[in-house]
Amino acid sequence: MSEEEEKKYTTISIPTPLAEKIKKRIKGTGFSSLSSYVTYVLREIISGEKEGDEEAFTKEDEKKVRERLRALGYLE
C-alpha cells in the first residue's frame, strides 16, 4: 500500500478467532477480504443509525410535491 493509500485507511484490531470465523464465512461470497466484509457490516450499522435523517421538504415544497403527486393520481 502506498503512503497516500495508507492515509485513507486505518487499522482496527478484532479478536483473531472472530477474524478466522469471518474469513470462513466470506469464502465463496463476493467479499474479497476480511476488511471489505467488516467495512460493509460497519457501514450498514452506521447508515441504519441515520434512519430519519433524510432532508425533509420545507412546508411550501411539501405542499407543491403533494399537489403534483395528487395530479398524477398517486396520492389521495
Binding site: 485513507k8 461470497t29 463476493g30 467479499f31 471489505s36 467495512t39 460493509y40 457501514r43 450498514e44 452506521i46 447508515s47 441504519g48 441515520k50 434512519e51 433524510e54 432532508e55 421538504f57 411539501e62 410535491v65 403534483r68 403527486l69 395530479a71 398524477l72 393520481g73 398517486y74 396520492l75
Partner: protein, 377 residues
C-alpha cells in the same frame, strides 16, 4: 426506508440565490452530460457529487468500486477538447451550460487528466469493437477529462416532466403510501403481456411497483417516448391497482454496458427508494457482446449493494398450460411456447394491425394505434 447508495441522498441544487457567473469561464456541454449533471444534482447518482476524478475512475475500472469502496460500475465523465481548456486550470470554478435542458451548473475543477480509451472501452464494455454503441461513444470522447463537484444553478421544465419524480419525491411518495418494499421495473418499450406478467409476479411479494421508463435519445424505429408513456398509463389504468403502482421517467443515456450497467441501474433505483430491482435476460445488452445471464451473475460480486435483484429468465405463453409461464414453472416442450416478441408487435403496428390479445392488452394496442407516428423517424 432504504438508505440511499453510500448512505446519503446527494443534493447539489443551489440552495441560495443564483450566483453571479458573469466572470466565470463558460463551456457548452451536450445534452447527455447535462442529463448526468441533473442526475448528480438530484441524487439519482448518489453518492456522486460530481464528475469522477482519476483515482475514482481507476478504481471503478479495476474494482467496480469508488475509491472509498462503495460499489460503482459506470464511469460518469466530463470530456473536453484540450484547446478549449487553455485558459482554465485545476482549482478554478467554471460554468457549464446546455440549451436543450437549460442546465447551468458550476464545476469546481479538481482535476484535468487523460484516459486510455481502449482500456476504458475494454473494461466497461468487455470489448473494444467500435460497432458497439458504448465503445463508439468512448472513442468519440474528447481527449481531456475534467473531475470535480458540480452545483446545479438552473434548468428548465421539459416535455414529460410531470412524470419526472426526483429521488427525494419518490421517497416522500413511498413513505406516504406506507410502502416498505418496492420493486423497480425498467423499460424502453410499451408493455406486452410478458412484461405485465414479470411486473405482477414481482409485485405479489412486495408493497408496490415503481415502473421507470428510460426517456431520451432513441434509435430510428424505436417506439417514441409519448407512445411508451401513454401505453403504460393505459395498462395501469385498466390492469393495476391504483394504490400499488407508480410510474416515473428516468432521463439517462443507455450505455449498453450489459452486466456493469445492470448494477448501475440497480443503484439508481435504490436511490429512488426501491428495495428490489427486476433484471431480465440480457439486461442492458446489445448484439452478442454479453451472455444472456451475465447481468445476473455480476450481482454475486456485490453482496453489499443494498438492493435485491429479482432475476427473470425467459417467459412465454404455453398452449398446454393455457397461461403465461417461465422456464422454472412449465414442464412443456418449446413447441408449445409462444414467445412475446417486441419485434413481432412492432411489425404488426407498422402495418396498422392490432397485436393479438394473448400478446398485448387490447387497450394498450388501441392506445398505440391512435398515434399517427408511433416510431422514432
Amino acid at each position: 426506508m432504504i438508505q440511499p447508495h453510500g448512505g446519503k441522498l446527494i443534493d447539489r441544487n443551489i440552495k441560495n440565490k443564483k450566483p453571479d457567473t458573469s466572470k466565470l469561464p463558460k463551456f457548452e456541454i451536450n445534452t447527455n452530460i447535462a442529463e448526468d449533471i441533473l442526475n448528480i444534482a438530484n441524487g439519482v447518482f448518489s453518492p456522486l457529487n460530481g464528475f469522477l476524478c482519476k483515482n475514482d475512475l481507476e478504481n471503478v475500472l479495476k474494482e467496480k468500486r469508488l475509491e472509498n469502496d462503495i460499489a460503482w460500475t459506470i464511469p460518469i465523465l466530463l470530456d473536453f477538447d484540450k484547446q478549449d481548456l487553455k485558459d482554465v486550470k485545476e482549482g478554478d470554478t467554471i460554468l457549464l451550460k446546455n440549451n436543450e435542458t437549460g442546465v447551468e451548473s458550476l464545476l469546481e475543477l479538481e482535476e484535468i487528466y487523460n484516459i486510455d480509451k481502449k482500456t476504458l472501452a475494454q473494461t466497461v464494455y468487455k470489448t473494444d469493437d467500435i460497432k458497439h454503441p458504448g465503445v463508439a461513444n468512448v472513442y468519440n470522447m474528447k481527449e481531456k477529462i475534467l473531475g470535480g463537484k458540480i452545483t446545479l444553478i438552473d434548468s428548465k421544465i421539459r416535455e414529460f416532466d410531470k412524470y419526472n419524480l426526483s429521488p427525494k419525491e419518490t421517497r416522500f411518495l413511498f413513505k406516504e403510501k406506507n410502502w416498505r418494499e418496492i420493486v423497480a421495473f425498467q423499460t424502453r418499450n410499451p408493455p406486452h403481456i410478458g412484461h405485465e406478467y414479470v411486473q405482477k409476479t414481482a409485485l405479489t411479494f412486495v408493497d408496490g411497483i415503481f415502473i421507470n421508463p428510460i426517456i431520451g435519445k432513441k434509435k430510428v424505429g424505436d417506439f417514441t417516448d409519448e407512445v411508451i408513456l401513454a401505453s403504460y398509463e393505459t395498462l395501469m389504468q385498466h390492469y393495476y391497482l391504483k394504490e400499488r403502482a407508480v410510474m416515473s421517467i428516468l432521463r439517462t443515456t443507455m450505455k449498453y454496458a450489459g452486466p456493469r450497467e445492470a448494477i448501475h441501474h440497480s443503484i439508481m433505483r435504490k436511490n429512488f427508494g426501491c428495495t428490489h430491482f427486476i433484471v431480465g435476460r440480457d439486461h442492458a445488452g446489445v448484439g452478442n457482446y454479453y451472455g444472456p445471464y451475465d447481468a445476473h451473475e455480476i450481482f454475486s460480486e456485490f453482496p453489499d449493494l443494498g438492493i435485491v435483484p429479482v432475476f427473470f429468465r425467459s417467459f412465454s405463453r404455453c398452449i398446454k398450460c393455457g397461461s403465461v409461464v417461465n422456464d422454472k414453472i412449465c414442464p412443456h416442450d418449446q413447441q408449445f411456447h409462444i414467445n412475446f416478441s417486441g419485434k413481432k408487435i412492432r411489425e404488426l403496428v407498422v402495418n396498422g394491425q392490432v397485436p393479438p390479445e394473448d400478446m398485448m392488452r387490447k387497450e394498450v394496442s388501441e392506445t398505440i394505434l391512435k398515434f399517427k407516428k408511433p416510431f422514432v423517424e
